[in-house]
């Protein structure tokens, strides 16, 4: 049968059209607006070149948001994966009611980030403080989300609570696909539990790690809903001699620039930087993980 180019094109058209209209065109427009002085309403748009990009790196809030987002991502990638992997080992072991645990650990992931933020705000501001007062523990007497030095950690705890169950599911699927005979052979040879995990399980799960690390990295880097409802960027602190918000992650900084200051073009410029950094980080991560997969 003869293949006809235009028929192929016709089949691709719906998908290509949607992709171009919702991804490619807005992306191009976004880059264009990043180099203008557009405020979101005014129809008159002037070209300003790269000045939006120069301004942002002298802005203490943006620099801080950048650093704190990197830190938050690093904490989360470690926390979520360790907890998720631990839970996966637990629910694939010889545990009674393990299916119930599996479902239970996954449930927090089904609660929307907005609701979750408000629930945890109550837990930190009321439950935790009351507990601190009742037990006389000074560390707990002031809400963890109202202290600049602990707020990022508190957010990571909440994110881990929400996200570890999801990551656990990926690990569980991966563990189950490993033939039981391999593990059995290892234990017959005298390998203890930790040796089996270290030498057999982890190398055989390399492709799962590629996925989970990618998901946790991008998810944490783009964190917004939890940030918005749990801390709204607060509490305030001083950075480069200016009062700023200590838990305002990059996504939220962009949102505020666009919607509260009505500086649509500057926000767009920040979003472009955000995109580039995220692409660099995630591609590096996937590249390194893929190499590990090949080794294993």
């Amino acid at each position: 049968m003869k293949r006809r180019g235009w028929i192929d094109a016709l089949f691709i058209f719906p998908c290509a059209f949607a992709f171009i209209m919702v991804i490619i065109v807005p992306f191009g427009l976004g880059i264009y607006y990043a180099m203008t002085d557009w405020n979101g309403v005014n129809p008159i748009v002037n070209w300003v070149g790269l000045s939006n990009f120069q301004g942002m790196f002298s802005e203490p809030q943006f620099i801080y948001s950048f650093l704190i987002t990197l830190m938050y991502t690093a904490i989360n990638v470690v926390f979520v994966n360790i907890v998720g992997f631990g839970l996966a080992l637990l629910v694939t072991g010889k545990l009674r009611l393990r299916n119930i645990y599996r479902a239970g650990f996954f449930v927090p992931n089904l609660i929307g980030g907005i609701v979750l933020g408000y629930i945890w705000q109550f837990i930190f501001n009321n439950v935790q403080v009351d507990m601190g007062n009742a037990l006389g523990i000074a560390f707990l007497q002031k809400s963890l989300i109202s202290r600049p030095d602990t707020v990022i950690w508190a957010m990571s705890v909440v994110n881990t609570w929400q996200y570890a169950g999801y990551i656990m599911m990926i690990y569980v699927a991966s563990i189950q696909s490993i033939p039981g005979s391999v593990m059995e052979a290892a234990s017959v040879d005298g390998a203890n539990f930790f040796q089996r995990v270290r030498r057999i399980l982890i190398p055989m799960m390399a492709s799962a790690f590629t996925i989970t690390l990618f998901l946790t990295l991008t998810n944490s880097f783009k964190q917004f809903d939890l940030n918005f409802t749990l801390t709204n960027g607060g509490p305030a602190m001083r950075f480069m001699a200016k009062p700023i918000r200590s838990s305002q992650l990059l996504a939220m900084d962009i949102y505020r620039t666009a919607n509260q200051q009505n500086l649509m073009a500057q926000a767009q410029a920040k979003a472009v930087i955000f995109f580039i950094v995220l692409v660099i980080f995630s591609l590096t991560q996937v590249y390194l993980n893929k190499r590990k997969e090949l080794e294993a």
Binding site: V41, Q61, I145, S146, A236, K242, I244
Partner: protein, 420 residues
């Protein structure tokens, strides 16, 4: 069954299409588009009443659902060519955006009956004040009486300071958690209480209602250090006597509840908390004193209209006239007064309205308005996002920081926007 239903629907639709042009020939149709959800049933009823009494016009009132984006919805209406005849603006920002659609109402009768109209840069009255809102330092008269403090004497900084310190010493016997219920946290969403409302005392306090010289100087980057230090000391006094949990991470509910349950003697909130106080069954007598940060005597409160009705300049002349008549009727008739005050529970922005609102703080505002010597609002004139993004963290840091840092930070913040 389904067929019957769709037939019936089609019939209804067809009828309604037929019905519309029939009445349009004789009546002037105009529309109101507003965003105060809490007054929706009342203003609908008022529109209906107006239509009954004025057979030659037909007004339709539309309210945008709770918390929705009014500016966005109005832009959508503009694009759909359904721009309402009367719509709302919330200050200078809204005026700048919509000025091509805002008609001059200087000759309307209601203008002479209010001090709170919105004026454009040429001094023409363009905005009809929907209500008056105001704030000061609210007090619980019962607690003050038990503590032996007469609120009428709290007219200077030193008197206020002495009273707060006296009550602070009697916290146990009065059953208080803290003297002042004030919140400043960004996380709890109370940044506006301090960085907009309390700070407005600095912009407007101790001046004539229309004297904006302090604010204007501030916007030029000239920060009166003495006045700012006095204000910072006052704010620090409030902070130092607040419940740290409410101050640093409390939300609106926590702040109002502390006052309503008698756990705090003072509160930094406006008359919009009246319905919340009623819900929380706070029945004790209460009132306002001024934010006294200087030694000069003052009893003035900070009151203004938070939003205005404007008439669409691009509507037909008949519609514009009908809209202005409608606003006149709202401001000057007994039906209008009944709607604004008795039904919607708002503090009227018009002098001829004799009805009194029910809420205790609203009543206090009416009294203060009659007494005079009150102060305007200026915080709405700051650049977009400045109050929340720049002032918010500065005001929050004062809770754990020093007055000197606060003054330096505020000075730097205003100098930065002045240079632009």
């Amino acid at each position: 069954m389904r067929k019957l239903l769709s037939l019936a629907l089609v019939a209804v639709l067809a009828l309604s299409v037929l019905a519309l042009p029939a009445s349009a020939n004789e009546k002037v149709n105009f529309s109101v588009f507003q965003l105060k959800v809490e007054i929706d049933p009342m203003i609908q009823a008022f529109g209906k009443l107006y239509n009954e009494k004025h057979p030659d016009v037909n007004v339709t009132v539309e309210t945008l659902g709770g918390g929705a984006d009014y500016g966005g919805a109005l832009k959508a209406k503009l694009t759909a060519d359904q721009m309402p005849t009367i719509f709302m603006i919330e200050g200078q920002g809204g005026y700048d955006l919509w000025k091509d659609f805002i008609a001059d109402m200087s000759d309307a009768d209601w203008v002479k009956d209010t001090d709170l109209a919105f004026y454009d840069p040429d001094g023409k009255a363009v905005g009809f004040p929907i209500a008056m809102e105001g704030f000061g330092l609210g007090y619980n008269a019962e607690i003050l009486e038990k503590a032996g403090v007469d609120p009428a004497t709290l007219t200077t900084f030193s008197a206020t300071k002495a009273a707060i310190e006296k009550i602070a010493g009697m916290k146990e016997e009065l059953g208080l958690d803290a003297v002042v219920s004030v919140g400043t946290s960004v996380a709890g969403g109370l940044w506006w209480v301090t960085s907009q409302h309390v700070f407005n005392a600095f912009y407007a306090g101790y001046q004539d209602y229309n004297d904006s010289s302090v604010y204007d100087a501030l916007r030029r980057g000239e920060v009166d250090q003495e006045r700012m230090t006095a204000f910072a000391n006052y704010l620090k006094l409030l902070y130092d006597n607040a419940d740290p949990n409410v101050l640093e991470n409390g939300n609106y509910d926590a702040q109002v509840a502390a006052f309503a349950s008698g756990k705090a003697a003072f509160i930094t909130q406006g008359n919009w908390i009246d319905p919340n106080l009623a819900q929380l069954e706070a029945t004790f007598p209460m009132g306002y004193i001024s934010h006294n940060f200087l030694e000069e005597e003052s009893t003035g409160l900070y009151m203004a209209a938070p939003s205005w009705f404007v008439v669409n300049k691009q509507a037909s002349p008949e519609q514009q006239k009908a809209a202005i008549d409608f606003l006149n009727y709202m401001a000057l008739s007994e039906d209008g007064a009944n709607y604004m005050v008795a039904e919607a529970g708002m503090v009227p922005a018009f002098k001829s309205v004799k009805l009194q609102p029910e809420g205790p703080f609203s009543k206090a505002l009416v009294e203060a308005s009659a007494r005079g010597g009150n102060f305007n609002w200026y915080f709405g004139q700051n650049p977009d996002g400045f109050n929340q993004g720049t002032l918010g963290p500065i005001f929050e840091l004062l809770a754990t920081g020093t007055v000197e840092d606060f003054v330096a930070d505020v000075t730097a913040a205003f100098q930065e926007i002045a240079n632009k």
